[in-house]
């Protein structure tokens, strides 16, 4: 393994992603957690970029860091979520947790150590936006359309729920 720019970038991004994840768990204020989450999302987008999946990377930033986090922040701030989480306590619980984490680490290590990744066609990174589009509209048309119906149902459902709240608010 040689030290290349790609490797340095990967380690930097991976470090930020993991740090963001750890901070997300350890920080006590909810808004701080969301900001930590943003850093995780951004560095994951960077890792996609290293894998030359530029479209996925940009969409990751657009949807996750851009839209979803803002909606989360919006909800948290408007509901005046000032209280912070209590840090969990317990002696035996921590040891079982450690064992579980170690077990998970071993399982993941065994799982990926001898993983044989098939050699992918070398043209995958060229014009991958176009390739995604062609795949989506030729091979996967039906899942794509079903997904859009699902999203529409979610949208209508959200409107119905919000509307209900509004009427109750008027009555009280």
């Amino acid at each position: 393994m040689t030290l290349s720019g790609e490797l340095i970038a990967f380690f930097g991004l991976a470090l930020v992603a993991i740090l963001g994840g750890v901070l997300l768990i350890t920080l006590t204020k909810v808004v701080h957690m969301v900001i930590a989450l943003v850093f995780t999302f951004l560095s994951i987008a960077g890792i996609y970029l290293l894998l030359s999946a530029e479209f996925v990377a940009v969409v990751q930033i657009l949807i996750y860091s851009g839209a979803i986090t803002i909606v989360m922040l919006f909800g948290i701030m408007l509901t005046k979520h000032q209280e912070s989480d209590e840090p969990a306590k317990g002696g035996w619980g921590k040891i079982t947790l450690l064992l579980a984490i170690a077990g998970f680490a071993v399982a993941v290590y065994l799982g990926i150590y001898n993983l044989d990744i098939p050699v992918q066609p070398a043209t995958l990174h060229e014009e991958n936006t176009k390739q995604i589009g062609i795949e989506l509209f030729s091979k996967y048309v039906i899942p794509f359309e079903v997904m859009s119906v699902l999203l529409l149902v979610a949208l209508v459902g959200a409107i119905v729920l919000a509307k209900k709240d509004d009427e109750e608010g008027d009555q009280s």
């Binding site: 940009v58 969409v59 839209a67 803002i70 909606v71 922040l73």
Partner: protein, 335 residues
């Protein structure tokens, strides 16, 4: 030049060159912001029958902004006692860094551009969305009701207007068949997209003014209602960072408008002896002037009107434009 650099083997020298170029661009942008602000104040002055800055740096007030920046630098840096300190410090950084990042993907001329990425258009939209997080964070971390309202308004407005902004550009993507900004410019060699996509241009321009948080869409910092909006508690250089990111976005948005609708560095027929950089500069300045003109002549709209306009007018118009473009494109292909 950049392309050769990107393909060469990585080394410390390479890093140095890239770093140097980035610093150079930063100074170019800072220079633009300095004189952009001055020209904005001058134009506003003339339009409102005032003289504008005319004391420091000669008759035209050429050093006015420099003096202002100096004042901001030596100003006391205050952090409110009840503010959320880490977020308060982090927020200007989150707001400014993306503003400078988007510049990397913008092609100024065929020679002067940094990264030629395949999804350049989406890259701009995605990265500029991150700034909103900085603004919301600033509003929340200041622990002040005005700044919180300002931050909320900024988030709501920027999310609502990002959708028509992106949707209006789908027509261009349909016509070009690419998200690459260079290919979009190349597709406008004969006819600029402002003539092929007039509806998209109007929607894009309105939405871009809203994205820039400028009058008539400056509700996040409406000074007559919210004192100063999300940056009401900020002072000195932290405040300057918010202003700077606002003007860098203005620079980036004027560039993007030029690239997408005014043919980038392409020249008008018979006038191609004028260099590409000058063409770009002319178109860019025209867009910038219109942005200032809009700021001077329009009143601010109300918050409820803002949302209604974005969702009920701009979005349907943008969607109809996509439909129309696809239809016409197919019809032309048919015959």
């Amino acid at each position: 030049m950049i392309k050769d650099l990107l393909h060469s083997t990585p080394s410390l020298l390479n890093f140095g060159i890239f770093f140097g170029l980035a610093v150079l661009l930063l100074f170019v942008v800072l220079g633009f912001v300095t004189y952009g602000i001055l020209s904005e104040r001058k134009i506003m002055g003339f339009m409102q029958l005032r003289v504008g800055p005319n004391q420091i740096g000669g008759k035209w007030g050429l050093l006015q902004t420099v003096a202002d920046v100096l004042k901001l630098l030596i100003k006391e840096d205050t952090i409110p006692k009840k503010a959320d300190k880490p977020l308060y410090i982090l927020a200007p950084v989150i707001a400014f860094a993306p503003a400078f990042m988007v510049l990397a993907a913008l092609p100024f001329t065929d020679a002067f551009q940094f990264a030629d990425i395949g999804v350049g258009l989406l890259y701009y939209m995605a990265i500029s969305g991150i700034s909103t997080i900085g603004i919301v964070t600033a509003g929340w971390a200041s622990n002040n009701k005005y700044s919180l309202i300002g931050g909320m308004r900024a988030a709501a407005q920027m999310i609502s207007y990002e959708i028509p902004l992106v949707m209006s550009l789908v027509g261009i993507v349909l016509l070009t068949g690419s998200l690459n900004l260079n290919e979009i410019v190349a597709a406008q060699e004969k006819v600029w997209f402002i003539f092929l996509q007039p509806i998209a241009f109007i929607v894009f321009f309105i939405a871009s003014v809203a994205e820039l948080n400028r009058v008539p869409f400056d509700l996040p910092e409406a000074e007559s209602e919210l004192v100063a909006g999300y940056h009401v508690e900020y002072s000195g250089f932290r405040w300057a960072f918010f202003m700077l990111s606002e003007y860098v976005y203005m620079f980036a948005m004027a560039t993007l408008t030029t690239v997408l609708f005014l043919g980038g560095w392409n020249s008008i027929p018979f006038l191609d002896f004028i260099p590409a950089a000058i063409w770009f500069g002319l178109k860019f300045s025209a867009v910038f002037y219109v942005l200032v003109w809009i700021r001077v002549t329009f009143p601010r709209i109300r918050a409820d009107q803002l949302m209604e306009f974005g969702w009920k007018v701009l979005l349907p118009v943008a969607l109809a434009n996509i439909f129309l473009t696809a239809l016409i494109k197919e019809l032309i292909n048919l015959f």
